[in-house]
Amino acid sequence: MIIAVASPPGAGKTEWICQQIAQTNKPVGYFSPKTDSVPIDTIYLQSKYPQLKIYQTGEEAALLTESDQTITYIEIPWYLDLSGIEPLLTRLNSHRVAIIFPDANNTEFKTWADEVVSGNQVTKLTTSLQIHRGVLTGEILDFDSLATFWLEMTQGAYGEVVRAKGIFDLEDGQIYYGDFMPNRPELEFKPLNLPRWLDGRPVRKSGFEIVGNKLDQTEIAQTIKDCCVPESAISYYQQQVKESLATEPEVELV
């Protein structure tokens, strides 16, 4: 079975998919088109469900051949034109789920969907939303700097933000997930359950996606750059973490 999920930004696609995965015993697959450069949701879901089968762009044919045994969710980014992905969805004979706030006037999604699910209320959505995506290639960030940037960014220092999420490699080898919506203060900024990277610059994808109005992309990029641990300090930090982990007592959960 293939289930295509679409919504405006922040309505809760990934959250809904997460709930569905938790409720099934069947093998589950996941595909998010046009997000290969910064696959934030993919990495987040992978950290929660390590057995999740991830499909990359170019593997669409496999979605169909494996759909008998697997429930596969296609998460359609909000910025992707629904008519553009229509041929693929038709070919895959997918069930379409739209996640929208009950009172919202999302006629496009309502017309498109086979099923409408109640989602989060999204504030201040305008037609002129900008999206700023930053791809981090091996950069390691200082946690306190990142926390400062995240606070400033979510409070509007670099423009009005209606949605932000990101994954960041930190100096302790952990990868952190940040998730922000203006009306959801309970959202997270937390380490993901993924292996620590403690051998030089990480060879794995990280980055961020900020949606909003009048975003100062230059200043955002410069601030992220200022949060990065310099080359000369990376091995020093990583060695310290290794030594610290080596002396930690092993705890066995019973």
Binding site: D142, D144, S145, T148, Q155, A157, E219, D226, C227, V229
Partner: protein, 271 residues
């Protein structure tokens, strides 16, 4: 006698003017300043010249010291790489901006200023880089006041005002010596001491843009924490006009300070 004590002006001339006006309205007879006249803000020369023209007794702040001697704080004085980057940007800008007379004035400021049973420092009697936070353990806090040989220790540096009273108590000191079973203990009583942090005029960190300072009555020992509104948007505009990072203006407008305190607030750099 009513005195006014202020600190951490950080080149914010508009805030300083508003505080001086408020001090005048409070009828304080004497003004003291705990340093950090410069750094981050757009008017370092103007602030120093005004303080100097009013002949305000002033202790040297860590920023004043850094402008005179060069950046002396080690990396661990910054809470993050981002704060370090911003701090160095502000230092370089200020260092280029200040004129020779201002630098000379900052150089001759004393680390500690004492008058009767009152002591005035920027950070602590130990260092103008040390933060005396309200949650600092009582023994260390008391040691800092005792070392100043005063009853009331006025400080700034944290940018958040507070009053802490250290009640009278008995201290017992025991020195362990090798090969000596009996360690003699020395007991002594400490009188009531107070730490009064006066907050910040030009770079508040209490969540609002308003300037803070303190009015203290030397006879009644009453303390009044003053919070003064001023046209902070004017300073924000001047920050942008001066070519300083726009984030400084954004943080000032929210009372978030430009940078944050170090992870180890009692850390004293030995570099």
């Amino acid at each position: 006698m009513k005195i006014a004590v202020m600190s951490c002006i950080h080149g914010n001339y508009t805030a300083l003017e508003a505080v001086l006006l408020d001090i005048n309205q409070q009828k304080a007879e004497k003004i003291y300043c705990l340093g950090d006249l410069v750094g981050y803000g757009p008017y370092p020369n103007e602030v120093v010249e005004l303080i100097r023209s009013l002949d305000i007794p002033t202790a040297q702040g860590c920023w004043d010291e850094d402008i005179v001697e060069g950046l002396s704080a080690c990396d661990c004085s910054y809470p993050s790489l981002l704060a370090e980057k911003r701090g160095k940007t502000a230092h370089e800008w200020t260092n280029q901006e200040v004129n020779p007379e201002v630098r000379e004035y900052l150089a001759q400021l004393p680390h500690t200023y004492k008058e009767d049973n009152l002591c005035f420092v920027h950070g602590s009697p130990s260092s103008n880089h040390e933060y005396l936070l309200p949650e600092m353990d009582a023994f260390t806090a008391l040691e800092r006041v005792l070392s100043s040989d005063a009853d009331v220790l006025f400080c700034g540096h944290t940018h958040v005002p507070y009053v802490r009273t250290l009640d009278s108590g008995q201290l017992q000191v025991k020195v362990n010596q090798p090969n000596q079973d009996e360690q003699p203990a020395i007991s002594f009583n400490t009188p009531v001491k107070r730490i009064i942090n006066v907050g910040s005029v030009g770079e508040p960190r209490h969540g609002r843009p308003n300037a803070t300072y303190v009015v203290y009555d030397t006879e009644t020992e009453a303390v009044s924490l003053r919070e003064v509104e001023y046209d902070y948007q004017k300073t924000c505009a001047a920050i942008l006009d001066a070519g300083l990072p726009p984030i400084f203006a954004w943080r000032l407008a929210r009372g978030l300070e430009f940078a944050e305190k170090a992870d180890d607030p009692t850390h004293v750099c030995e570099r």
